[in-house]
Symmetry: C2
Subunit: 453 residues, 2 copies
């Protein structure tokens, strides 16, 4: 970049030569098979919730090897309930920690950057329904299959190999760059919350979630609940003397569809959400009820999530949800025969965010996108994602502009998850060029530390 | 009894003196606190499925102590699928065995008898919802509380203490009497099936299930199923690309209510079932679905039971059930988007039975009932039970007349299960007088072995 001060946020292009830019892109190409091998190694780790230790050890080694300052960061549960970036925790974090790798520049003149990616993955469903075992990374044509391949170990590899390519091109970033390898994105966001609460900050964060190479303009706030319904157990010979907790729970879920519809209707008054299908998306993820095949179930518990719009406080939506359940408990003829259902908040409770158009960060990314692809091709598209993203925490609780942009992936959270490798390559290149423009570079060979490009 | 041959089935009264009859009744009264203590000891054992060893060891010791020939009888799983009394097994029976105690008479001239009771109990539900811990037998007024107190450890105590009272009155039964302390009644009936398949037979079986001191005239056949529905998992950001296995399962359960209604409608054409509320009683006992709070569930499994009428083959009803599920799978717009639901048979698949009015066994029981209570009081009532009973196996597969008659109990399979102790005392007396009349007796002091009363 030019010698402009980091905070100047100039949209002007760096004086990086075309040849130097080409060298970076070539370096991505040259290391790409190594990148796929690294990604495969990550996919091989079944880093389900609470089981992220193995993958984080790989991350730690990979960052050490590259000369980053590496910190293993435990989640300080004392902060939960204190710091607003945290959501309720229902499990121990003893074996779940973040890994933070930091590039400390010789010359610090550019804009600092956080590259965030989460290592936790969701369960696979029945492995027999997969073409290949879900934790056996399998390459078929342009696709790499495996749980977590798209969401979002590919993104993690992009962040690391983008920075590698810059170095391989003989360049050195002239601003602090942190790699946040975090846990818990799929449930609470408490990994990213910890990274944030520890005081880690930067001028921008880029998160290569699988976005089909689009930039996220806005996302939903999400609250995750567990509802427990108690019934009155009974013997099948006298069914009418009991109230099935299962039937009451199903009735309650039916009613909750009305809450979803009501929240969905608000989309017309909210920027960006006009065309989103089912922005509130009530999904019931799990249900467990009853304990004996021939008894009327005494209790039933279901867990799920519901979305809402950026700008809304999750606390208000939680209250609305609880009041809705209380009304059903009072009015529905079946549910009213049960004790009042218990609502618990068991995962993320966070607002959504928007990335206002016209930011410097977006403009640098859009140019990098063009430079990494065909300069005369289509521009970077923006879109809305009706799901929780760790980006929300960085934006809402720390005011850091968040760029969520990553590769094409399919079947995330589903069977036969896969990521497009050609897309991953393009994304890696875009991130490399973005980092160069955002952070600035100097020639690593240059003896004069002030010799910034 | 008189010197009539055992097979003569005479309804005439024995020549047992009134004083001797009173001595038996008095012996029940005198031992009743001991009986309650024994019952409490049984209730203290959490003899859930697969955990019956402790209670069976107590039973074994109790029968040994009384001089019965005692046999520990393992379930021979090789017979399952071969002998029609067995239902499918889904668990190991390594720690679940029957205990068979046999009284071998010095003089065998009367009619033989099986007293059957099951020791397995169903789960408690949330123990905190009980007034007292469910496996802490608690006496309050006329009631003894505890899981299994009514269903059916009280009945077990009645069988044992009825025979004790006869002995205490100085009498000795002149026919073989077996006590079948069986497992698995609450799920498959495979305990009683084993007792039967081992060749144990008798001229009648009496089972003191909690029937409110009524005699069971007929009961339902029952089949127990598990249905697994697979959906298409998806991320909440693209709900419509998935099919929730949970929603499909709930839809399927809704449709099954129509099958229940159709089977219930048949009641008008079936003897004894006219006035029974919900004779088919489809109950869904358990449900488990999904594996992640923020995924569209990929699978959902529910278990339940449905009843039908005596005389019907369970195999026919199973076929009808399977065909019904297949039709829903083909026709319902949501369920048809899933692979065909898997129906498994995971518990009892047995026909119901009837006890034809006018049997000798019933008439002897009815007289014993009057003699044990007030002779001028109401007669023994008969009723229908729309639930599985081990009695069905003895009747249907071995042609043994089955008398199911036992104490008043409340909240079986529910919270705060309890049995009436005054009722238990009456039932114990009735069983004692029944056994005397059915099997015949001689005075234990009599040196002449042929001196039958």
């Amino acid at each position: 970049m030019t010698n402009e001060a980091a905070n100047n946020r100039s949209p002007s292009r760096s004086t990086l030569s075309k040849a130097e830019r080409s060298r970076i892109l070539l370096a991505v190409d040259e290391a790409f098979e190594k990148q796929v091998a690294f990604l495969s190694e990550l996919v091989r780790c079944a880093s389900l919730r609470g089981q992220e230790a193995e993958v984080q050890e790989i991350m730690e080694a990979a960052l050490h090897e590259r000369g980053y300052l590496v910190d293993r960061q435990a989640i300080d549960t004392a902060l939960i309930g204190q710091h607003p970036a945290f959501s309720p925790a229902t499990v121990s974090y003893e074996n779940s920690w973040n890994v933070i790798g930091t590039h400390i520049p010789v010359v610090a003149q550019g804009r600092s950057l956080i590259l965030n990616a989460h290592v936790d993955v969701v369960p696979t469903g029945d492995p027999d329904r997969w073409q290949d075992p879900p934790f056996k990374p399998t390459r078929r044509g342009d696709w790499l299959y495996g749980r977590g391949s798209g969401d979002m170990k590919a993104g993690m590899s992009a962040a690391i190999f983008a920075l590698d390519a810059i170095k391989a091109a003989g360049l050195e970033l002239t601003a602090s760059v942190q790699i946040h390898s975090v846990v818990e994105e799929e449930i609470t966001g408490n990994g990213a919350a910890m990274a944030l609460a520890s005081g880690q900050t930067a001028d921008a964060v880029l998160i290569p979630e699988p976005t089909d190479e689009k930039l996220i303009r806005a996302n939903s706030g999400v609250i995750k609940f567990a509802v427990t319904v108690h019934g009155t157990p009974a013997h099948p010979r006298e069914v009418s003397s009991g109230v099935s907790a299962l039937e009451a729970a199903v009735r309650l879920i039916d009613h909750l569809r009305n809450l979803e519809a009501r929240w969905n209707e608000e989309q017309n008054t909210r920027p960006y959400f006009n065309d989103v299908e089912n922005p509130a998306a009530l999904t019931i993820g799990t249900i467990t009820g009853g304990e004996w095949i021939a008894s009327v179930p005494s209790s039933c518990r279901f867990e799920g999530r519901i979305g809402f719009y950026p700008g809304d406080k999750p606390q208000d939506r939680m209250k609305e949800f609880e009041a809705f359940v209380a009304t059903i408990a009072a009015d529905d003829p079946l549910v009213q025969r049960c004790p009042e259902p218990l609502v618990q908040w068991v995962g993320v409770v966070q607002p959504g965010y928007t990335l206002a158009p016209g930011s410097e960060a977006e403009s640098v990314l859009a140019q990098a996108y063009l430079d990494a692809n065909a300069s005369d091709g289509p521009s970077l598209e923006a879109c809305v994602m009706a799901a929780y993203l760790d980006a929300a925490l960085y934006t809402v609780h720390a005011g850091i502009p968040s760029l969520v942009y990553g590769p094409i992936a399919e079947k995330i959270h589903a069977i036969d998850e896969r990521v497009s490798l050609s897309s991953l390559r393009r994304v890696t290149k875009t991130i490399a060029l973005f980092a160069v423009e955002w952070c600035g570079v100097r020639r690593a060979s240059d003896k004069n530390p002030a010799a910034v490009i």
